[in-house]
C-alpha cells in the first residue's frame, strides 16, 4: 500500500493569507492583503445551545483555542446575566496570561526569529564568543554556557551535514541581508531550543486549570475545575506549588532571555524601526488579557486587573487617549467577497451579516488583485479609522496612560536603541513591543494575579461557578451580549444573540481581521497593506527571495500561513514564497 499522501496543515490554521505585491526599483509600490479562505463561524453555532458555543468557536483558530473559548463564555454570560465568581475570573486571567506569554515567546523564536537569524551560520560560530555576545547584550539566561553553546553548534552542524534542515528548510539563508555575526546566530538558535523547552511550563498552567491541553475545559458561569486544597482530584496544594514554580520560570525566561534577545536583534536591524509603519492609530481595551463583558463603561464583569483603561490613540498623538466606545466598531465589505442587504455600509458587529458572494477568479489563479474584491476578510474600522491592534497598540495605550511598568520598560528600550516611542510603529518596533509587553505580563502574573488567587484561597474562597443562571429557564426570552478580550494578536470581540435558549446570531471580530483586512469604501488600506506599500519605500531587494516583506508581515504575528506573490510591472512573472 505504498501511496504518496500529504497532510496539509495549511487548511488548519486560521484561514489562509496571501499577499500580492507590485514592485519597482527594489521597493514595494502596491500591496494587497488577501485572506483566501472563507470562515463563517456563525453558521456553525446558530441554533445551538449558547452554553456549548465555546466548544465550537474555540476551533476558529488552530493556535489560540482558549482565547476564543473565554471570549465566547464571557459574551454568553453578558447576554444571559451570569456572574462567574472572582476565583473563576482569576483562573481565566491566569489561563489567558500563560497562553499569551507562551504565544509571544513562540512567535518570536519559532515563527519570526528566522527572518533575522541565519541558522546555518551558527555552525561556524565559536561557542565562547556566543557566551560573550549574550553577556554583552545583557542576557543573564542560565543557558548561556560554553558547554551548551558547543552542544547546540554541534547539533546544527549535524543537521547541516545530514542535509536535512528539518524546521530550518526553505529559509532564504543566502539572502544578503542576514546581518548577525555567527556567534549571535548561535546564541539565538540555542535560545530557540530553550524556548521550546520553556513553553512546556506555560502549557501546563492551562492544563491544570482546564483539565487537559489542547482545548482546556471552560464553563459558562465560571470554570469547570474544582478547587480543594486537601483533595487530590481537584486543584490542590501540590498543583498550586507547581504553578508557582512554572510562573517563576516563565518570568525568568522572558526577562533573562527573550527581552534581551529581541532588543539586541532588533538593534542590529535598526533601519527596520523606519520600515513597515502602518497607520498610527491604536485601539486596545487594556493590557494583554484585559477582559470585559459588554461595554467597559458599565461592565460588571472584567478581568481582575484593569490598570490600563480601554481607549484609542489617533494620529500618533500619545497626549490624548480617546475613550473607548464599542458602538464605533463597524465592518465594511468593499474589498471582500460578501454582500450586505443595504450595500456597502459599515455594519456594527451586533448587526453583522456574513453572506458570502465570491466574485474572484476560479482557482488555481495567478493573480487576484485585479478585482475590486479580493479577500474573505472584512475591513473593520473604529470611529471610521483604520487602527492597529495588538502588542504595539497596547504598549502605546499603556504608555499614554502612564502605566508605570510599561513606561519604564519602553523608556529603557527606546533610550538604549536611540529611537522614539513613535518608532515602535514599525517592523522592528512591533517585534520589540511584543517582548516588552511579555515582560510586563509575566510580572503581573507572578506578582499580582497568582498571589491574589492564592490569598483568596487561603481565605477559604473556593467558589468557581455561578449556578443561578445555568438553566435556560432562568434566561430572558431574548438577549444579546458581547465580550472584549485582549489576546496575543490584539483586540478580540465575540457578539452573541440568544433567542428562546438558542444562539440566534454570532459574530467574532478577530485581531487579524483588523490588521489583515483590505481596502474600505474610501480606498484606505488595511494595516498590512499600509505597512508594505504606505510610503512606497519598503525594501524588496530580490523578488525571488521576499525576505523583507515577510519580516514586516510576520511582525504583526499573523495567525495565518501566508503566501507572498510578487509581480514586477514589466511582466507577469510570478514568484511564490510560502511562509
Amino acid at each position: 500500500m505504498a501511496q504518496r499522501v500529504v497532510i496539509d496543515p495549511l487548511t488548519r490554521i486560521e484561514g489562509h493569507l496571501r499577499i500580492e505585491l507590485e514592485t519597482g526599483n527594489h521597493k514595494i509600490d502596491k500591496a494587497w492583503s488577501e485572506t483566501t479562505q472563507f470562515r463563517g463561524i456563525e453558521t456553525i453555532v446558530a441554533g445551538r445551545d449558547p452554553r456549548d458555543a465555546w466548544a465550537f468557536v474555540q476551533r476558529i483558530c488552530g493556535v489560540c483555542t482558549s482565547v476564543h473559548a473565554v471570549a465566547s463564555i464571557v459574551a454568553v454570560e453578558n447576554a444571559i446575566g451570569s456572574n462567574p465568581p472572582t476565583q473563576a475570573r482569576l483562573i481565566r486571567d491566569m489561563v489567558l496570561a500563560s497562553q499569551n506569554i507562551q504565544d509571544h515567546v513562540i512567535h518570536f523564536y519559532h515563527l519570526h526569529a528566522l527572518d533575522w537569524v541565519n541558522v546555518p551560520s551558527a555552525a561556524t560560530a565559536d561557542p565562547q564568543k556566543a557566551v560573550d555576545f549574550a553577556k554583552a547584550i545583557g542576557s543573564t539566561w542560565k543557558g548561556n554556557t560554553v558547554a551548551r553553546m558547543t552542544e547546540v553548534r554541534d547539533t546544527v552542524k549535524g543537521i547541516l551535514d545530514s542535509g536535512q534542515l528539518t524546521i530550518f528548510t526553505g529559509g532564504y539563508w543566502n539572502h544578503p541581508d542576514y546581518r548577525l555575526p555567527p556567534e549571535a546566530n548561535l546564541m539565538a538558535v540555542a535560545h530557540y531550543l530553550d524556548a521550546l523547552q520553556f513553553q512546556r511550563s506555560m502549557i501546563r498552567i492551562g492544563t491544570v486549570f482546564g483539565g487537559k491541553n489542547p482545548h482546556p475545559n471552560f464553563l459558562v458561569g465560571g470554570m469547570a475545575c474544582t478547587i480543594d486544597p486537601s483533595h487530590s482530584e481537584s486543584i490542590n496544594q501540590v498543583q498550586i506549588d507547581q504553578i508557582r514554580q512554572w510562573i517563576a520560570e516563565s518570568a525568568e525566561f522572558v526577562n533573562d532571555c527573550y527581552l534581551p534577545d529581541a532588543t539586541a536583534i532588533m538593534g542590529v536591524y535598526k533601519d527596520y524601526f523606519d520600515i513597515g509603519a502602518a497607520q498610527p492609530n491604536y485601539l486596545a481595551v487594556g493590557l494583554a488579557g484585559a477582559t470585559y463583558a459588554g461595554d467597559p463603561a458599565a461592565s460588571r464583569l472584567t478581568s481582575a486587573f484593569t490598570a490600563v483603561k480601554p481607549g484609542a490613540i489617533y494620529d500618533g498623538d500619545l497626549g490624548t487617549v480617546h475613550p473607548f466606545d464599542p458602538t464605533r466598531i463597524a465592518e465594511w465589505v468593499s474589498s471582500a467577497w460578501y454582500t450586505y442587504q443595504d450595500g456597502d455600509v459599515g455594519l456594527t458587529p451586533d448587526k453583522g451579516e456574513t453572506t458570502p458572494h465570491y466574485t474572484g477568479p476560479q482557482p488555481p489563479y495567478d493573480w487576484v488583485a485585479d478585482h475590486p474584491q479580493y479577500t474573505w476578510s472584512k475591513a473593520p474600522r473604529y470611529d471610521g479609522r483604520v487602527v492597529q491592534v495588538g502588542p504595539v497598540a497596547r504598549v502605546m495605550l499603556a504608555y499614554a496612560q502612564g502605566h508605570p511598568a510599561t513606561k519604564a520598560l519602553v523608556d529603557a528600550a527606546t533610550k538604549k536603541l536611540g529611537i522614539t516611542v513613535g518608532q515602535l510603529n514599525s517592523t522592528a518596533g512591533r517585534t520589540l513591543a511584543r517582548a516588552l509587553e511579555c515582560s510586563v505580563l509575566a510580572d503581573i502574573l507572578a506578582r499580582t494575579t497568582f498571589p491574589t488567587f492564592v490569598k483568596n484561597l487561603k481565605g477559604g474562597d473556593i467558589d468557581v461557578f455561578d449556578p443561578s443562571k445555568w438553566e435556560p429557564s432562568s434566561w430572558p426570552a431574548s438577549s444579546s451580549g458581547f465580550s472584549l478580550v485582549e489576546v496575543p494578536r490584539g483586540f478580540l470581540s465575540h457578539w452573541v444573540s440568544v433567542e428562546k435558549g438558542k444562539v440566534a446570531r454570532y459574530q467574532a471580530v478577530v485581531p487579524t481581521t483588523w490588521l489583515a483586512g483590505g481596502r474600505d469604501a474610501q480606498g484606505r488600506q488595511g494595516p498590512y497593506e499600509e505597512s508594505l506599500a504606505g510610503k512606497g519605500q519598503h525594501p524588496l531587494a530580490d523578488p525571488s527571495q521576499p525576505l523583507e516583506p515577510l519580516r514586516t508581515i510576520h511582525s504583526f504575528d499573523p495567525c495565518m500561513s501566508c503566501a507572498v506573490h510578487v509581480m514586477d510591472p514589466e511582466g507577469a512573472e510570478l514568484q511564490v514564497a510560502t511562509s
Partner: protein, 179 residues
C-alpha cells in the same frame, strides 16, 4: 487526574488531529472518538504492566503538542490524509511518515513535522510513529463528515485497534467493550 503531557515514560499516545468545523478535516478526531469508545471510553486506558494508552485531541495545535510528542514512546496519529479516492483508509509507517508530512514545509509554518523535528532537536522523540487516516472528500467550513468518509471510520478504527494490540504486551490490548 493526570494532565495530558504529564504522561509516564513509555506512554503510548493516540493523537487525533484536524479541525471538526472543517468537514472531513475532522476525520482524525472522529477516529479518535470512535477508537476511544471501542476501547472502553475515557481519556486513557488504565493498563496494567506499566503501559498506558493516552487519547489526545490535538486539534490543530502546533508547537503546543511538543510535550506530548516528546513524552510518547509510541505515537499513533489519526488524521485526514490526501489521496485520490475519498474514503480510502491509509496506514503509514516508518519513513513514509516524514515523507508524507514534509510537503508544504517551511520555516514559518508549524505543522506536525515541525513538532517531530523539534522533538528530534531536543533529543526526545517517539521510538515509533505511525499514521492511520482516511482520504477526505471535502474540507470546507461545516460540521460532520461526508458519507464516503464517515463510512470508512469503522474500518480505520479496526486497523487502529489491531495496531494498538500489536504494540501492547500480550493480553493487555483486548479491552473492547462491544455493543
Amino acid at each position: 487526574m493526570i494532565p495530558a503531557g504529564a504522561g509516564a515514560i513509555g506512554a503510548t499516545v493516540v493523537l487525533g488531529v484536524g479541525n471538526p468545523i472543517m468537514g472531513d478535516d475532522g476525520v482524525g478526531l472522529a477516529l479518535l472518538d470512535a477508537l476511544r469508545e471501542a476501547r472502553g471510553g475515557g481519556t486513557s486506558d488504565a493498563e496494567s504492566g506499566g503501559v498506558r494508552v493516552e487519547y489526545v485531541d490535538g486539534g490543530t495545535g502546533g508547537m503546543s503538542l511538543l510535550p506530548l510528542v516528546e513524552e510518547a514512546d509510541r505515537l499513533l496519529v489519526l488524521d485526514a490524509v490526501a489521496g485520490p479516492v475519498p474514503g480510502t483508509v491509509v496506514h503509514l509507517a516508518g519513513d513514509q511518515v516524514p515523507r508524507m508530512l514534509s510537503t508544504k514545509l517551511s520555516p514559518h509554518q508549524v505543522g506536525l513535522l515541525d513538532v517531530f523535528a523539534a522533538a528530534r532537536l531536543l533529543g526526545r522523540e517517539p521510538s515509533i510513529v505511525e499514521v492511520i487516516g482516511v482520504v477526505p472528500e471535502s474540507v470546507d467550513l461545516r460540521l460532520g463528515l461526508s458519507p464516503a468518509v464517515a463510512a470508512a471510520v469503522p474500518e480505520a478504527v479496526r486497523w487502529a485497534e489491531r495496531l494498538l494490540d500489536q504494540w501492547l504486551p500480550a493480553g493487555l490490548g483486548a479491552q473492547s467493550h462491544d455493543g
